[in-house]
């Protein structure tokens, strides 16, 4: 190939690349417009090694930014939240995973394990547009001592799910779980921290600061509840399937996403409700672990995820999810927008608070290993 031919080929390639970029940007421009500022300044590219729940990569809503920036997402999906720390610690300080999400209850543990890096808020300008509640340093879950380690993304509440065909009146109290009529029709999720947190909330006990007497009280509540059930479902998905198949009528703790899971199994009558006692909330946040080796692309990815339109699209993609960007609320469809009163989020979180997990080590309070061991015992009883 002569030099001139080479130059000509190169220029044609460049022209095609340019045209492709224009076409791509026309298609995804509404979502990209809010997140290009960071991309223009930084060296975005390469691969982001993603370590979180399946679905949290929200391919429909977060995928266009990856494509437009030439970034490849390599997901590793976890089976339990504990896979996150286990996999990062297994690297022994090496590089590998670039982005994780963590449930607020794990903040204390992750601080102890030193697996989180402080985030540079200048590289995530969309933080400024977040809802005040999520911008705050609520209980130190995302910002502690002035250091931000996480950006809230996916959140919701846990209460009850039930089959509205078998139970036409929505249950308004957790007391209904213990009625004779529902004996054998209750299904319980195998989520040790989750069940202790929700039972604790119902009994007005904070699991993060639980004394022995309080622990015994919650354990007795759970023993009674498991006896009402036909056994514990190994996952939230399986719990939804048990209700969808008619093997159970009501599920505890119930998660709004289970409505979608049950619909996927052919039962569109399954509904979510937060009874009068309230429930507990979860908030999974983006974080950059110590194993990150592509910070620019990771910051760009997070910044894009909390831009208003992308954030709204991701909430809808999650099925009945909440948004964290203030500007995202107006883009939500009616059903998703009606889920939470965004003008009074503080009231919502008072009814369904975000709790920390039981401590890993403590001489005053019940530790997480005791909680897990007791839950295994209750399950096997």
């Amino acid at each position: 190939m002569s030099e001139s031919t080479f130059e000509s080929a190169l220029s044609r390639r460049r022209l095609l690349q340019g045209a492709g970029a224009v076409v791509a940007s026309v298609g995804v421009s509404p979502w990209l417009a809010e997140s290009t500022a960071f991309g223009a300044e930084s060296k975005v590219g390469g691969t982001i090694d993603f370590l979180s729940w399946q679905g949290y990569d929200s391919p429909k809503s977060l995928g266009p930014w990856l494509k437009a920036n030439g970034v490849k997402l390599k997901p590793t999906y976890i089976a339990t939240h504990d896979d996150i720390q286990a996999k990062i610690l297994a690297l022994h300080g090496g590089k590998g995973y670039d982005i994780i999400t963590y449930y607020q209850g794990y903040k204390q543990l992750y601080d102890q394990l030193k697996i989180l890096t402080p985030l540079d808020e200048k590289k995530i300008p969309n933080i400024k547009g977040m809802l005040p509640f999520f911008k705050s340093n609520y209980r130190g879950f995302w910002v502690k001592n002035g250091v931000r380690t996480a950006v809230p993304m996916y959140w919701g509440a846990l209460g009850l799910v039930y089959d509205s065909k078998a139970m036409p009146t929505a249950p308004n109290s957790y007391d209904i779980l213990f009625t004779k009529k529902l004996k054998g029709a209750v299904t319980v999720d195998d989520d040790p921290v989750g069940v202790y947190t929700l039972a604790g909330h119902t009994l007005k006990i904070n699991v993060a600061t639980m004394t022995q007497a309080q622990f015994d009280k919650i354990s007795a509540y759970l023993e009674k509840l498991v006896k009402q059930s036909k056994g514990v479902a190994p996952s939230y998905g399986d719990c939804a399937k048990r209700i969808a198949d008619g093997d159970a009528v009501i599920g505890w703790p119930g998660w709004a996403a289970q409505v979608g899971f049950a619909a996927g199994s052919g039962n569109k009558n399954v509904k979510f409700v937060l009874p009068k006692e309230g429930g507990y909330a979860y908030c999974d946040s983006w974080a950059i672990p110590i194993s990150n080796d592509n910070p620019d692309a990771t910051y760009g990815y997070i910044n894009n995820a909390i831009s208003p339109k992308v954030n709204a699209a991701a909430a809808e993609e999650q099925i009945l999810g909440g948004v964290t960007s203030a500007g995202a609320v107006k883009y939500l469809d009616k059903q998703t927008a009606a889920l939470y009163d965004y003008k009074n989020l503080n009231n919502f979180f008072a009814k369904a608070p975000l709790y920390a997990n039981p401590p890993v080590k403590s001489s005053n309070y019940i530790t997480i290993d005791k909680v897990i061991a007791k839950w295994q015992e209750i399950k096997a009883s």
Binding site: G231, P234, D245, D247, I368, Q376, A380
Partner: protein, 300 residues
């Protein structure tokens, strides 16, 4: 060729003959060392170390073994594991024996087709097979619906699902093809002529089974039994999906120790104790075979 040269040539040939098998088994040996022996060795070391949060440190201690052995919960879960493993192994071998016999002596040229049909379920995903049993045994499942439509029952039978019965049924279904394969291989060297000779000598069907076939397939049958027992007793997925409260097994606790609690020594000690129990059972069965003089039965 001198005698010395001849000896040297023979020695070289012998060396060559010995080297061949060694080279052939090298990949398998390396794989076993890397994927089985090395992890077990790491587990052994971890089980004697002091637990830190998601980490281990010195000094060496027996604390993890003490905690694993003195835990009431571990004892309950171990009992669940052993009971479920035994039930699954007994039913699998009991069902596989006649199937393998029929496959060996009665299927003729259709043998491979039948063998394929028996093993076909192994191609389906493990979870799909478990969920298939949920669909069969559930409150509104195939069995209850059929019984209701036939007018045999008014209300669905609740005892079909979320108990040990369901776990045993699902595990037997999952492991039955393996048991059939092991027993089919065990029947292969038993020529039909042996059975014909027994018949000619006046042995009826029962005597032929008891005096000829059973002694010859005792060892393969116990291999199949052990195979199904170990896989069933260490399974912790099936019991969670169809087992209810009675189906929780020790494997779940091992996993929790490694991931949720971050106590590596306790997880390692518990799993090594499980391994020790399985090895003990293996030697107990071998000893039983020897006592019954079934370990030296030969086909020729």
């Amino acid at each position: 060729m001198s005698a010395a040269e001849n000896e040297a040539t023979q020695a070289a040939r012998a060396r060559g003959l010995q080297l061949g098998p060694v080279l052939l088994t090298l990949p398998a040996t390396a794989a076993m060392l890397v994927f089985f022996v090395a992890p077990i060795a790491i587990f052994v070391v971890y089980s004697f170390l002091t637990a830190q949060l998601y980490d281990v440190s010195r000094p060496f201690t027996l604390d993890a073994y003490s905690a694993a052995l003195n835990s009431d919960l571990n004892r309950t879960l171990a009992r669940n594991s052993i009971e479920i493993g035994l039930l699954s192994a007994i039913f699998s071998v009991a069902l596989a024996l006649p199937v393998a016999y029929w496959l060996r002596y009665a299927t003729g040229r259709w043998r491979m087709v039948v063998l394929f049909l028996i093993t076909a379920s192994m191609f389906a995903s493990y979870l799909v097979r478990i969920y298939a049993w949920r669909t069969m045994l559930g409150e509104h499942g195939v069995v209850n619906s059929a019984l209701e439509s036939l007018g045999i029952i008014d209300q669905p039978l609740g005892f079909l699902i979320f108990n040990r019965f369901a776990v045993t049924v699902a595990l037997v279904h999952i492991f039955l093809p393996y048991a059939v394969l092991v027993l089919f291989a065990g029947f292969q060297p038993i020529r039909p002529g042996l059975l014909e000779a027994a018949q000619d000598l006046g042995a009826g069907a029962y005597v032929r089974w008891r005096r000829v076939i059973l002694p010859l397939v005792a060892a393969p049958a116990l291999s199949a039994f052990l195979f199904v027992f170990v896989l069933s007793a260490s399974d912790y997925v099936t019991p969670q999906f169809v087992g209810g409260s009675s189906g929780v097994m020790l494997g779940v606790q091992v996993q929790a120790n490694f991931t949720t609690v971050g106590n590596y020594p306790l997880g390692a000690a518990t799993s090594l104790l499980m391994l020790a129990a399985f090895v003990t059972l293996y030697f107990a069965i071998r000893f039983g075979l020897r006592l019954a003089k079934l370990d030296r039965v030969r086909f020729s």
